[in-house]
């Protein structure tokens, strides 16, 4: 069986290599991709259009903001699907013995985590808010924030982490993230532009059209951060405890 599965691997691998012969040369200015107006527009005009120094953030949150909205929705769906499948599915089934660890939280580990977690959480806000200038943004900041709660759950137990971030509120926070993202899009549509046309927000913000885009991008990044952070924790809590939300790993 292993031999047969090797055949498609070789065929597809060969196909991919064969396709490589035709790639544009490295840095070839004559290739259609280099002549395409899209990348050159991003490089030349990101600052003019949006006032954002970090081109990646501008492409992610503004030029292709609609993609990012649905990426956030994908994260939200992942959380809901895990809840849908796991919650209540293992009620009545005996818990596997090898998962049960009866141990006090370790002194060294908990004290280290005590030191790390505040720094981690402040860093998460920094990454989120500084995404306009440096690498970062809502996804990265959200992941760091979610990781801080997972760290608490790993070094103490799930109850302790859930007393800091109640799991019932997670889905609420995640939904709020989407409402914030979509709401900014909807608001800019109500103000007379297209959906997600942040520039229209200058009618209610005391700034120029370009700066309106700048500020709205921060808003949607915060929305993304909400969703990602809470869904990270939902995924961990449900997967680690088979949907029981007790004890966990």
């Amino acid at each position: 069986m292993k031999f047969f599965s090797l055949i498609p691997v070789i065929v597809i691998g060969g196909l991919l290599l064969w396709a490589g012969q035709d790639f544009p040369k490295w840095g070839d200015v004559e290739s259609p991709a280099s002549k395409s107006p899209v990348s050159s527009h991003f490089i030349a005009n990101t600052g003019v259009d949006t006032e954002v120094p970090n081109m990646v953030t501008a492409v992610l949150a503004d030029y292709r903001g609609f993609d990012t909205m649905f990426e956030t929705v994908v994260v939200f769906i992942a959380g809901m699907a895990v809840i849908a499948i796991l919650r209540g599915s293992s009620v009545g089934r005996p818990r596997r013995k090898d998962h049960e660890v009866e141990a006090e939280p370790d002194l060294i580990v908990t004290n280290t985590v005590r030191l790390i977690v505040p720094v981690l959480q402040i860093f998460a806000f920094y990454v989120l808010a500084h995404g306009h200038v440096s690498p970062g943004g809502g996804f990265q900041g959200g992941v760091v924030m979610g990781a801080s709660f997972i760290l608490i759950a790993l070094s103490w137990d799930l109850e302790k982490a859930m007393s800091r971030f109640p799991i019932e509120r997670c889905l609420f926070v995640a939904a709020m993230g989407i409402v914030l993202y979509g709401g900014i899009g909807l608001l800019s549509m109500m103000l007379g532009g297209e959906f997600l046309d942040y520039a229209e927000l200058d009618k209610i913000l005391p700034v120029s059209r370009e700066m309106a885009r700048y500020h709205a991008m921060l808003g949607v990044e915060i929305g993304v951060g909400f969703t990602v952070a809470s869904i990270m924790f939902v995924l961990y809590a449900n997967l680690a405890s088979e949907g029981r939300l007790k004890q966990g790993l």
Binding site: S36, V74, A81, A84, A175, G182, M189, E194, F195, E200
Partner: protein, 519 residues
């Protein structure tokens, strides 16, 4: 309404978030919010189709984020394009979504207790994803929306039972392979053309003569195979029957008519809009062997359907056969074949909806969908059975149902393009469908058992007690959606010329052979 096309996804997107939040307030709100947001989306769909028909070049272009074409180059922002094809298919998606949402109440309460909020939320996001796939004009955005539709699909199927979760795992693996192949293909397209906008890619291909490029050829193969896996074309169909049979009833009612059909739409979109007719049909070798793969696919799927003893599983294999029809209609490379293919997407969505809604009611009333458990159903619930049979007749292709007319165009396409093998296999498959459905009709009306032995005592006697044949119709909230779906099948059949006119207007922009030599 200026932004109708945006409301198509705003309604279900925000609806799903509010439904998810309804568990904090009152879980009873989940159903009304879902129905309202689907009704809103359906209205926006109708409005979009009306606008597309009224506009001079028969399409609406909507630049999300305000990156309009007069100020910025094409491809900087993400474009939503509703041409006649997209707005027809999106209307079908939203219509099916609305009907299934109304229908779902009893099933969802029974099959997924305490999870209604999450269930409806996933369902609305599924419809958002599918509607977005139809409308988007951006190859990467299409991938994101495919992911939205696929992930919600996994959740909606696995929420049912442990067996469903096992079936979902297969679906998950194959679906992810399909989506990854598609993404890889889009990556190759981007490296060659430098844009992700569908029309932009087509322009670059034409301007630079990229039809012979090896990278483009491989991109075409990767995207094509990825989509074929997603639409459950015959050798890749293994995930479909188990996933649809073990899923909760409402899930199969929603996914079966839509997911495979929307993927066929994506294939048509890729062939016509992204790669272009010349590239797809004349620069690749697909056109010479795809019709034969279709022949194999239809024959195998028809035999598999014939060997099933359970309605749901039989219907699942029927879908695989129908996918073969539509793929064949595209790849016989003919104007009429393509009309048939597009029309068949519409009619197949309606008739599959009929059949699955009917099966759901049978399951609700009889607790089984096995062939042995359906005797005497016609006297028990005549209206449900009429709705179910309308779907069945349309699958067979009896006039005046819409299945007849779409098959007519497919057959015409096969004839004028000289693909006789496709024609023969269509006829063969029609015969199989006749057997399938008349076998069911026999079971439902007559008192014969497996070996043909008569169970009743002569004429009109079903061999059942009075209790078992007493009039016991399905609840109205389930019956009305079924009858609406059945009426749609007949109405589309009667007004088929209106639909075909729109498809013809859309296809006029493409240079397709009609197969008829005018002197």
């Amino acid at each position: 309404m200026e932004n109708a096309i945006a409301w198509i996804f705003i309604f279900p997107l925000f609806g799903s978030v509010f439904v998810a939040l309804s568990r904090y307030v009152n879980i009873k709100l989940a159903y009304p919010i879902s129905v309202l947001s689907m009704a809103g989306a359906f209205w926006a769909g109708v409005e979009t189709l009306r606008q597309a028909m009224a506009s001079p070049n028969h399409e609406i272009s909507y630049l999300l984020g305000g990156w309009t074409l007069d100020l910025f180059p094409r491809g900087v922002g993400i474009e939503f394009r509703a041409d006649l094809l997209a707005s027809l298919i999106v209307l079908i998606v939203l219509g099916v979504g609305l009907i299934v949402t109304v229908y779902s109440k009893i099933h969802v309460e029974k099959e997924t207790p305490n999870k209604e909020a999450i269930y409806y939320s996933l369902m609305l996001l599924q419809i958002t994803g599918l509607a977005g796939i139809c409308l988007t004009g951006d190859a990467f955005n299409l991938y994101v929306l495919i992911e939205v539709a696929a992930l919600t699909g996994y959740g909606l199927i696995a929420i049912g039972s442990n067996r469903a979760a096992a079936a979902t795992f297969n679906y998950l693996i194959l679906g992810t392979i399909g989506a990854s192949l598609y993404l890889l293909g889009v990556g190759y397209l981007y490296i060659k053309t430098g844009t992700l906008n569908m029309v932009g890619i087509q322009e670059v291909i034409e301007a630079n003569g990229l039809t012979d490029s090896a990278t483009m050829q491989v991109a075409f193969v990767l995207i094509g195979v990825g989509i074929l896996i997603k639409m459950a074309f015959f050798p890749f169909h293994a995930w479909l029957p188990n996933a649809y049979c073990n899923a909760p009833t409402t899930t199969s009612c929603l996914l079966a008519p839509l997911v495979t059909k929307v993927m066929i739409y994506v294939m048509i979109r890729m062939v016509l809009t992204v790669f272009g007719v010349e590239f797809s049909f004349e620069s690749t070798i697909w056109v010479s062997w795809m019709p034969w793969l279709v022949v194999i696919a239809i024959i195998c799927a028809a035999f598999l359907a014939l060997s099933q003893r359970e309605i749901k599983r039989m219907l699942a294999y029927l879908i695989v056969a129908e996918v073969g029809y539509m793929v064949g209609g595209v790849w016989i490379y003919n104007y009429y074949g393509l009309i048939g293919s597009i029309f068949h997407i519409i009619s197949d969505a309606c008739m599959t909806l009929c059949l699955f809604l009917g099966t759901g009611i049978i399951l609700h009333k009889c607790k089984t969908t096995h062939f042995d458990g359906i005797r005497g159903l016609f006297s028990k619930m005549p209206f449900t059975m009429i709705g179910f049979f309308v779907g069945g007749f349309s699958i067979i292709g009896l006039p005046p149902t819409c299945g007849f007319f779409s098959k007519w165009y497919l057959i015409t396409g096969g004839m004028v393009s000289g693909h006789w093998e496709y024609l023969v296999v269509l006829m063969f498959s029609t015969m199989v469908m006749v057997i399938l459905f008349f076998r069911l009709i026999e079971r439902i009306h007559l008192a014969v058992d497996e070996s043909g032995k008569n169970l009743g005592k002569g004429h009109g006697d079903l061999g059942l007690s009075r209790e078992q044949t007493r009039f016991d119709e399905a609840p109205l909230i389930m019956l009305i959606p079924l009858l609406v779906a059945a009426a749609t099948v007949i109405v589309i059949g009667i007004y088929n010329q209106e639909v075909v006119n729109q498809i013809e207007t859309f296809l006029q922009a493409y240079d397709l052979p009609t197969g008829v030599e005018y002197e």
